[in-house]
Symmetry: C2
Subunit: 443 residues, 2 copies
C-alpha cells in the first residue's frame, strides 16, 4: 500500500489526513506535540479566558476510528528527497510515496532571538499562552506588593508589539482583563489603571488583508477599551526595564511580541526556494517544484495564485482549503488523473477586540462592533474540533460575558511565589530559604 | 483595628476568612500560590479527566466583595511569636493579633527525597498533577514508538505506592484511562494491556479510618478494573528501571507516590511540639499551647479530641470545621467570651474507584459501587467553589461518562517530544538538532 507521511497536526495536516478517509493509503502523521491546537483562540488562553484543554484536542483521538492513520509524537530532523524518507530525532526513519509538510510558523524576532526574544513573550503554542498568562497575572500580584509607585506603574504597564490581528486581539483582551475581571480583586492597586500600549511600526493597524476602514474601526474600538495605540512607532530596543521606541521610552515589566512569525526551520531542509519569512515557494498544485510527491501547505508555504505577486496569508482557512486540495490531488494521483490547481476561496477575515467588539470583512461586506463579534463567535465555535470543546468554550464565554469573570486565572509552574523576586518586589530576603524544605515539595 | 494573619488558602484558611465576614478585623491571607485548590479532585487532573482551572479558583476572587480581606502571594519564612510578626521571603513583615497557620501538607518520602523523591511522582499540587498527566501520557506515546517488547511492557507498567484513598483513586482512574479512554487511540500498543500495580505495605487497603469491609470492597472493585493490588508489599528501593519490593521486582517507567505526607516545613518554626509527620500538637481550642493567639488547623495540626489518643485525619471536612471554629473563637475573643472546645462532627468518608465505583461510610452506613459513587459525585460537586466550576466539572464528568473520553489529554511543557528520549525511545540522534532552530521557538 502507498505511504503518505504528514508532518504537522495543525489545520493543514489534520485536514489532509481527514479528507483521505476511506482512501487505501497508509498515513503517518508526525507532530512534536500530542494535540491539535485551535490557534485563533490561543490569545484567550493567554488572557485567562479559556483553559488550554478547551482549545486543544489530542491528535490521536481525531483518528481513533480510522485505523489507517498512525499518529507519532516526534520531531522530524531530516528529509531525503531522493530516498523519499524522513528521519525523526530519535533515529526512526519513515519512507513515503507522498510527503506533506505542514509544520506551520513560529515566533520570529528577526535575528534578535537571544536578546529581544528573551525579553518578550511570543504567542504560538499552549506553553507560550500559559507563560503569558502567568507573567501577566504575576505582574498584577507583584504590583499589589510593591511600595514604590514608579515601580508599580512599570509593573502595570503592558506593551504589545505588532498591530496585526493577534496584537489587536491580545491588547483588547488584556485591557478588558484589567478593567473588568481583575478590577475588584485587589486592595492596593487599581488594576483598571493598568496601561496597555499597542505598538505598530506601520501607519495603520491590521496591515495586509484588512481594509483601511476596518483598521480605523479597530483603532477606535481599542481606544474605547483604553488601549493606547501607537502607530509609526519603531522599536529600537527591548531592555530589562522597558521598550525604547523611536519617539520615546515606555517603562514596562511585560512585553508581548506579535510582530513576527516565520515558517518553522524544517522548511529550510527541503531544498526549495524560501522567502524572507522562511516559507517554501510552491507550485500551483501546492507541490515543491520538481518534486510533485512533496507538498507544502499552510503557514510553511508561500503560495502565490497564478498571475498574482501576492502570497496567500498565513491563516487557518488557507491551510484547511490547501489540505483538502492536497488530499484530492493524492486521490487523483492514484487514479492517474491530472491534479489541477489550487484556488483559494476567500470567505473573509476577522479580528476580535475584547468582548462584544470586533472587525470583520467578507467580500465587499464590512462589519464592526457587536455584529462582527457575534459573527466571529459563531464561526470560531463552528470550527472548533469536537462537541465537548465547542460546548465548554461556549459556556466559558457566556459565563465570562455575563459575570465578567475569567475562570482560568491560575498561576502555575514551580514556586510561582519566588517569581515575584524577578519583578523586584521587596528587599532581598534576609534569611536563606528554610533548610527543612524538602526537594520536590510544592504547595 | 485588630489584625488577623492567615497563612494558607486551602480549605482551613479560606474558611476562617470567609466565616469572619462582617467582623471588624483586618484580615491578611498569605499563600504561595494564587489559587485555592479542590484537593479531593486533584487525581482527576492527573488522570486527564479535568482541567486544572476546573478544580482551582483564584483566592482573590473569593474575597472580591469583602474589602477587609487582603490577599498576598508570598512565602512565609519566619514567625516571631514574641513580636507577633510573620516575615515573608521578600522581606515584608506583617504584624498580627491572631495568627492562623493552615499551611497543609506536602509529599513525604521519609528522608529519601533526593532518591525516591526524584524517581516517583507525588500528588499535592496542580503542578504535580500536570506533571503526572504528562508523564503517564508520554509513557503511552513512548511505548507506541518502542520496538523492543520488554521495554514496551516496562513503559506500560505503572506502580502506585500507597493504598490510602489517593492511591486507590489514582490506581482506579489510571486503569480506566488505559482500558477505555485510550483503548482505540493507538495502533501498535494495546493500552488496555497496561499494568497498574497498587502497592500497600499494610495488610489491607484504606488503612486508618475505613472499615475493613470497605477495604475489601475497594480491593474487589479495583480487581474488576484490572488493577493488581499487592498487600504486605514493602518497597525496598526505587531505581531507574523499576521498584524493588520485598517479594520481587516490578519493572516500570512510572511510579506514583501516595504513601506519605507531612505537614509543611513552616510548622517546625512555630516552636511547638510536632509529631513524626511534622504536625503541630494543638490544644482543644486549636491553639498552640501557651500561645492562644496562634491557631494551627487542618493538615498542619495534630488535634486529638480530649480523652482520645487518635488524632483527627488530614481531610477537608476537619480543616473546614476547624476553620469555622477558629473564626468563632476570634469573635468570642473580641467579646471577651470563653472559646470553648472544638469537636469534630464526622459526616463520613469516601473514596472513588474509577467511574461508577466507590466506597463510602457515614456513621454505621456503608455503601459500595454505583450508589457510593453517586453520593461521592454529589458531595464533591456541592463543595466545589463557584458555580462555574461546579457546572463545568459536572459537564466534564457527564461527557467523560457517556463518551468514555477525557478532554484534558494535553502533553504540555517545553519540547515534549524531546522527553521521549528520557524513556529510551529509539537510538541516539545521529544529527545535532537543526542549527537554524531559533531559541524560544515551540510548535
Amino acid at each position: 500500500m502507498k505511504r503518505l507521511v504528514v508532518v504537522g497536526g495543525g489545520f493543514g495536516g489534520l485536514t489532509v489526513c481527514r479528507a483521505l478517509r476511506g482512501t487505501p493509503i497508509d498515513v503517518t502523521l508526525v507532530d512534536r506535540v500530542n494535540h491539535h491546537l485551535f490557534q485563533p483562540l490561543l490569545y484567550q488562553v493567554a488572557m485567562a479566558g479559556l483553559s488550554p484543554a478547551e482549545i486543544a484536542y489530542p491528535i490521536r483521538s481525531a483518528f481513533r476510528d480510522d485505523p489507517r492513520v498512525r499518529v507519532l509524537l516526534g520531531e522530524v530532523v531530516a528529509i531525503d528527497r531522493d530516498l523519499r524518507t524522513v528521519r525523526l530525532l530519535d533515529g526512526e526513519t519513515l519512507g513515503y510515496d507522498w510527503l506533506v509538510v505542514a509544520v506551520g510558523a513560529q515566533n520570529d524576532w528577526f535575528g534578535k532571538e537571544s536578546t529581544w526574544g528573551a525579553r518578550s513573550l511570543g504567542l504560538k503554542s499552549i506553553d507560550d499562552a500559559v507563560e503569558i498568562r502567568r507573567r501577566v497575572l504575576l505582574a498584577f500580584e507583584a504590583a499589589e506588593r510593591e511600595a514604590d509607585s514608579a515601580s508599580r506603574d512599570r509593573l502595570l504597564t503592558f506593551v504589545v508589539i505588532g498591530g496585526g490581528p493577534t496584537g489587536v486581539e491580545v491588547a483588547g483582551a488584556l485591557a478588558e482583563l484589567a478593567r473588568t475581571v481583575l478590577a475588584r480583586d485587589f486592595r492596593v492597586i487599581r488594576p483598571e489603571s493598568a496601561r496597555v500600549v499597542l505598538v505598530e511600526r506601520g501607519t495603520r493597524l491590521l496591515p495586509g488583508g484588512f481594509d483601511p476602514r476596518s483598521a480605523e474601526s479597530a483603532q477606535r474600538q481599542l481606544a474605547e477599551l483604553g488601549v493606547e495605540v501607537r502607530l509609526g512607532a519603531e522599536v529600537r530596543d527591548l531592555d530589562d526595564s522597558g521598550v525604547a521606541l523611536a519617539d520615546g521610552r515606555v517603562e514596562c515589566a511585560t512585553v508581548l511580541w506579535t510582530a513576527g512569525v516565520r515558517a518553522r526551520a524544517l522548511t529550510a531542509r527541503l531544498g526549495g526556494v524560501t522567502d524572507r519569512a522562511g516559507r517554501v515557494e510552491v507550485a500551483q498544485d501546492c507541490s515543491l517544484p520538481g518534486h510533485p510527491e512533496v507538498f507544502v501547505i499552510g503557514d510553511a508555504a508561500r503560495f502565490a495564485p497564478e498571475g498574482s505577486a501576492q502570497a496567500l496569508p498565513g491563516i487557518a482557512p488557507v491551510a484547511i482549503q490547501q489540505g483538502r486540495f492536497v488530499a484530492e490531488a493524492i486521490r487523483r494521483d492514484l487514479r492517474a488523473q491530472p491534479r489541477g490547481r489550487f484556488s483559494y476561496r476567500d470567505k473573509g477575515i476577522m479580528a476580535t477586540i475584547g468582548r462584544s467588539r470586533a472587525v470583520a470583512e467578507a467580500g465587499r461586506l464590512r462589519f464592526g462592533g457587536l455584529l462582527a463579534w457575534v459573527a466571529w463567535l459563531v464561526i470560531h465555535l463552528w470550527y472548533l474540533i469536537g462537541f465537548r470543546n465547542r460546548f465548554v468554550v461556549l459556556f466559558s464565554w457566556f459565563w465570562n460575558y455575563v459575570a465578567y469573570r475569567r475562570g482560568a486565572r491560575l498561576i502555575t509552574g514551580e514556586r510561582a511565589w519566588e517569581r515575584l523576586a524577578d519583578y523586584g518586589v521587596g528587599e532581598e530576603p534576609r534569611l536563606p530559604p528554610p533548610e527543612d524544605t524538602q526537594p520536590g515539595s510544592r504547595q
